[in-house]
Symmetry: C2
């Protein structure tokens, strides 16, 4: 199976799990479930769930049911996009080529749909069939990675307050590590924990997650400068307009591309303790750096 | 100890726990932690945590550490108030006598502070020292009660979409049961579960929670009509202005007062299987119905 086929297959597994886990559009109150599903099925690439499942596969041959905990990463990611796009935050009308949640359903429902996806992520984890000790480790990982201290919300606050500030390398790193890095790292860790990784495997996959997360963000920033909106499915050039602190803003385009390549290699090094079961993770690191959208 | 002394003591325990559990105002990023603490310590009565602790005390003599899970109910309640007060929802400037979170910190930080309190509630539960099976039951209770299907968010959506509609008894009950009822019921159930209640005790406390929850909401609606803003610490008469579906709107003031009294008695009946350890719960049911603010 090629990587493209593997990714497509994993995307289907995640979509199927999300359809099962999120209340249907005919469940009362219908409007909120429509809004949740609208944003969840608006063309997301499922990067975090796919990394989570690939990490589990690197540890164990068949981590049954992994798509449920993996899906919770997409629930969290999608809630954060809905809230980030709101007029009070990034005020974005377009996401993945379609109107953002508040443009389609109004601000009130968009705020509540974000809250609901966040809440549902923890409900899904609490209702997993795995052993309770594993469950509470997964819940702790997800909550800390999504939170204010070194987690996603903390990164969003830094990002918001960093707009217009002098773009320093230290500020950039702090924003990235928290805003996107923490959840990407948690994706790997949750997959590893679910599959029963030992401490050494968990540490190696965390390390891989940090490098891949950094590579992912650098490439995202570079694409925002290089690619037209149609290709990205979102408003291109927005970072610069909003005076966001980005890798190209701090290091320039060429140096940013070199840094992404460096992170890709470091991600490979982190996987040295693993055999061919980690091959998909290796390919995914390459893909994340070489993608064009 | 009088009930007033007991309530004051439990409020102190909860305040202490919240101060310990929520990152300090000097933790980076400071703005979000300031906003979270501002709303948490803006004079909340701690009704849900107090009911949770009293339920635990009805089951067990000394449920050690109960204030941590009890506090998560206040984290959820406070997040819901912050988001409810936003311009896109109830658009309220005043809450408990002070400016609402978005009035004080801006909309972006208020949205993120709500998200952060919600996330922190699950982190706190995942990090409890109790056994993992108990933890995952608590997390499931809190997530379901806060969610879209019969839970708090579902109730908020119904409430929002019910504005201006013909106020029927069925719609009123659906809104109330979900919007405030589910979390109040969960308060009792979480206390019971933490203290190791058997099935019969859990069912009795759930039943008490439903009646007390209903009584609480009826009295809230009645006070909104009867009391001036200064006494309530929020804008009085808002329900009618926003054409909210309330108990006085459906049943009139006098019948609403009778219904609250009926629910108070039903709450007492639910507690019959319990001995004097449930005395505080009995007193709290009386207090909730007789309060003037």
């Amino acid at each position: 199976m090629t990587l493209a086929e593997y990714v497509a297959q994993q995307q289907l597994r995640i979509d199927e799990a999300l359809r099962r886990l999120v209340p249907s559009e005919t469940t009362t109150p219908e409007s909120i479930h429509r809004a949740m599903r609208y944003s969840l099925f608006a063309g997301g690439k499922r990067v975090r769930p796919i990394l989570c499942m690939a990490a589990a596969e690197a540890v164990s041959d068949s981590p049954d049911g992994i798509e449920s905990p993996a899906s919770t990463l997409e629930l969290i990611h999608t809630y954060s996009l809905i809230h980030d796009d709101l007029p009070a935050l990034d005020n974005d009308d377009l996401r993945r080529g379609v109107p953002t949640c508040h443009k389609k359903f109004g601000e009130a429902i968009a705020i509540l749909a974000g809250d609901a996806l966040l809440t549902l992520a923890f409900q899904v984890l609490a209702q997993l069939a795995c052993d309770p000790e594993c469950k509470s480790r997964l819940i702790e990982e997800l909550a800390v990675a999504s939170g204010t201290v070194g987690g996603m919300i903390g990164g969003q606050v830094n990002d918001l307050e960093g707009e217009g500030k002098h773009p320093t390398a230290a500020l950039l790193e702090a924003i990235h590590r928290a805003k996107t890095g923490a959840l990407l790292r948690a994706s790997l860790r949750m997959g590893a924990i679910y599959a029963g990784a030992d401490d050494e495997q968990l540490a190696a996959l965390s390390c891989y997650g940090e490098h891949v997360g950094l590579a992912f963000q650098i490439v995202d920033d570079v694409l925002d400068v290089e690619q037209p909106s149609e290709k990205l499915g979102k408003t291109a050039g927005k970072d610069e307009k909003q005076k966001k602190i980005t890798f190209p803003a701090v290091y320039g385009l060429e140096r940013s591309r070199e840094m992404a390549e460096h992170e890709r290699l470091a991600a490979h090094v982190a996987l040295r303790p693993f055999d061919e079961r980690a091959e998909r993770l290796r390919e995914l690191a390459d893909f994340i750096v070489q993608r064009k959208a």
